[in-house]
C-alpha cells in the first residue's frame, strides 16, 4: 500500500477525480485480494499498486503492460470477470471483480504435426 501514496497524484480540480473522492473497492488479481478505486480502469489500479506487467505475449513469452491506455493496442489484454482478452485500460474496477494475467490463447493449442503454435 505504500506505493499508492507516491503514485497517486493529489491536486486541483482541473484533472480527473481525486483518489480521496472515489470509493475503495477490493478485487482479485491472480487470486490475491487487492484494492483499487471504484470506476477507474483495472490497469490504473494495478499500476498504482506497482504491477506493471499485465500478461505475457503469446508468441514471444515476454511480459507486456499498458501501452496506449485508450483501448487501441490490446497490449493490456487480461482475463476479467471470466472473459479472455479484455482491455485492462478500459475496464472499470468494481467490488469483487476477478482479474488475472494470461499467456497463450486457449484456442491455439499445439496440434499433431505442428512444431509451434
Amino acid at each position: 500500500m505504500s506505493g499508492r501514496l507516491t503514485i497517486r497524484i493529489p491536486g486541483g480540480p482541473d484533472l480527473g477525480p481525486q483518489a480521496e473522492t472515489l470509493r475503495q473497492v477490493t478485487f482479485s488479481f491472480d487470486g490475491q485480494p487487492v484494492v483499487g478505486l471504484e470506476g477507474e480502469p483495472v490497469a490504473m489500479s494495478l499500476w498504482a499498486l506497482g504491477y506493471r506487467a499485465l500478461g505475457w505475449n503469446e508468441e514471444s513469452g515476454r511480459q507486456r503492460g499498458l501501452y496506449c491506455a485508450i483501448g487501441h493496442c490490446f497490449e493490456c489484454r487480461m482475463t476479467i470477470d471470466g472473459q479472455r482478452d479484455q482491455r485492462a485500460c478500459c475496464y472499470p474496477v468494481r467490488e469483487g471483480l476477478a482479474v488475472s494475467r494470461q499467456s497463450k490463447p486457449v484456442d491455439l493449442e499445439m496440434q499433431d504435426g505442428m512444431d509451434q503454435v
Partner: protein
C-alpha cells in the same frame, strides 16, 4: 432491432458536438464509445493557449451537460462497434455489448486518431507507453507513470505532456530524439524531426521564439541543434535534447534504463552510447487518423505509403462518397479539439440534409459552421503537421470529382 436516426461512433469533441447539434433539433442520436467515460481526448487536455487555459475536461463536461438536456440523445459507453453494414437506405450497426444490432438512418464516424509507435529495441517492455497514455494516466486517472521518465520523439504532444508530467510531480530526463533510421529506411530522419521544431518553437519560452525563423533555415538549424548542450535546453518544465537519440530501452520485467547517444549536425550518431536510469519511457511518434470503419463501409479513400495520411474522401459537411455515412474530427486529419468540434457541427448539417431529404437546406448554418471551422484553424495553438492542409485540399477536390462523376 433497436431504431435510431443517427448513430455516432466516438464520444470525443467531434462526436459529442454533432450529437448536441442534432439532439437539440429532436433527432434521435445514439453515441457509442469504447471508453467507459465520454469526452475522448478532451479528458486529458490541459494547456495554456495564449492568455487563457484550455481545460479539456471542462469542455467535455459542458458538452455532456448540454446533451443531458436533449432526451433524444443516448450514450452507450464501454461498447465497441464491431460491424457496419448498409441495408435498406440505412445502416445496421453491431457492437460488442451482446445485444441486438442497431438500425440507424445515418452514421457519423468520429473515431479520432491513434498514436504512431517508435519501435526501438525494448519498446514492448512494461513501462514503455505512448505519450498520450502518460497524459491519460496523469491527467485523467491521476496515477503517475513513474518516478523518472524520458520522452522519445518530437510529436506535438511532447511539450504539453512534459509540462503536465512536471505538474504531476514526475521527473523527466528530457525530450530526446528517435535514432536515425538504419538501412536507408524511407520516412523519418533526424532532419525531419528537427524541422518540426520550427513549427513548435512558438510553444517554447519567450526567449527562444526568435529562434523559430532561424530554425526554418537548414544551415542554422543544424548549427543550433547540434551545438545545444548535451543536457539540453529548458523547455516546458523539462529539457529538450535535440542532439541526443534514444537507441534502446533496457529492463528485465520492466523499464530500468534508456540507452542514449549523441547526434551530430547531419543527424548521424557520434561518440559512445551511455545509459540513464528511468522507470518509464514515453514515445511521441505523432498521430494518424483511424479511418478503418469508413473504408470497411465502402467510402472512397485517400491512401498514403505508410498509412499515416489515410483518410476518407470528404465534402464540406463531412459527407463521404457513401450516402448516409458522415465523418468529423481527427478521422479527417490531425488537428486540435476546437477544429474537431467545428467539424462535428458541419457534419450535423450534412446529416440533417440527408435525414430531411433537403440536399441544399440549412445554408446559413453551413456557412456559419464553416466560418467557425476557419476561426478554429486560425486560432489553433499549434499546427500538428503542416502536410495536412495540402492533403485536405486534394481529398476534398477528389471528393467533388467522385461525387460529380458518381
Amino acid at each position: 432491432m433497436s431504431q435510431t436516426d443517427v448513430l455516432v461512433v466516438g464520444a470525443g469533441p467531434a462526436g459529442l458536438t454533432a450529437a448536441q447539434e442534432l439532439g437539440r433539433r429532436g433527432i434521435r442520436v445514439t453515441v457509442i464509445d469504447e471508453y467507459p467515460t465520454a469526452g475522448g481526448r478532451l479528458l486529458g487536455q490541459l494547456y495554456q493557449a495564449g492568455d487563457h487555459w484550455w481545460v479539456g475536461r471542462q469542455v467535455a463536461e459542458q458538452l455532456l451537460s448540454d446533451i443531458s438536456g436533449h432526451p433524444a440523445v443516448r450514450l452507450r459507453l464501454g461498447t465497441s462497434v464491431s460491424g457496419l453494414e448498409r441495408r435498406d437506405k440505412g445502416w445496421v450497426v453491431e457492437d460488442t455489448s451482446g445485444g441486438e444490432p442497431a438500425m440507424a438512418r445515418a452514421v457519423l464516424l468520429a473515431t479520432g486518431a491513434a498514436e504512431i509507435p517508435i519501435a526501438i529495441p525494448g519498446w514492448t517492455l512494461p513501462g514503455v507507453m505512448t505519450v498520450g497514455a502518460a497524459q491519460v494516466m496523469a491527467n485523467v486517472h491521476r496515477v503517475r507513470p513513474g518516478q523518472r521518465g524520458v520522452i522519445v520523439g518530437l510529436g506535438a504532444l511532447s511539450f504539453a505532456v512534459a509540462q503536465e508530467l512536471r505538474w504531476a510531480g514526475v521527473d523527466l530526463a528530457g525530450i530526446v530524439m528517435p535514432p536515425p533510421p538504419r538501412n536507408g529506411m524511407p520516412g523519418w530522419t533526424v532532419e525531419e524531426e528537427w524541422r518540426k521544431m520550427a513549427h513548435l518553437a512558438h510553444l517554447a519560452p519567450t526567449w527562444m521564439r526568435p529562434l523559430s525563423s532561424l530554425l526554418r533555415r537548414a544551415g542554422w538549424r543544424r548549427r543550433l541543434l547540434a551545438g545545444a548542450p548535451q543536457a539540453g535546453v529548458a523547455v516546458a518544465g523539462t529539457r529538450l535534447r535535440p542532439n541526443v537519440a534514444a537507441l534502446a530501452i533496457e529492463g528485465d520485467a520492466a523499464v530500468s534504463a534508456v540507452v542514449l547517444q549523441r547526434l551530430n549536425g547531419h543527424g548521424n550518431l557520434v561518440g559512445e552510447p551511455w545509459r540513464e536510469a528511468v522507470d518509464f519511457v514515453c514515445t511521441s511518434g505523432g498521430l494518424r487518423p483511424i479511418p478503418d470503419l469508413a473504408a470497411a463501409a465502402g467510402a472512397a479513400m485517400h491512401y498514403s505509403w505508410d498509412g499515416r495520411y489515410d483518410v476518407p474522401l470528404f465534402g464540406p459537411c463531412g459527407d463521404t462518397t457513401v450516402p448516409g455515412l458522415y465523418v468529423a474530427g481527427n478521422i479527417l486529419g490531425i488537428e486540435g479539439a476546437a477544429v474537431a468540434m467545428a467539424q462535428g457541427q458541419l457534419a450535423s448539417v450534412g446529416i440533417l440534409r440527408h435525414l430531411l431529404g433537403k440536399p441544399d437546406g440549412f445554408g446559413p448554418e453551413a456557412d456559419q459552421f464553416a466560418l467557425q471551422l476557419a476561426e478554429a484553424r486560425r486560432h489553433a495553438p499549434l499546427v500538428f503537421d503542416p502536410a495536412w492542409a495540402a492533403i485536405h485540399e486534394k481529398v476534398m477536390a477528389d471528393f467533388q470529382r467522385e461525387t460529380r462523376e458518381g
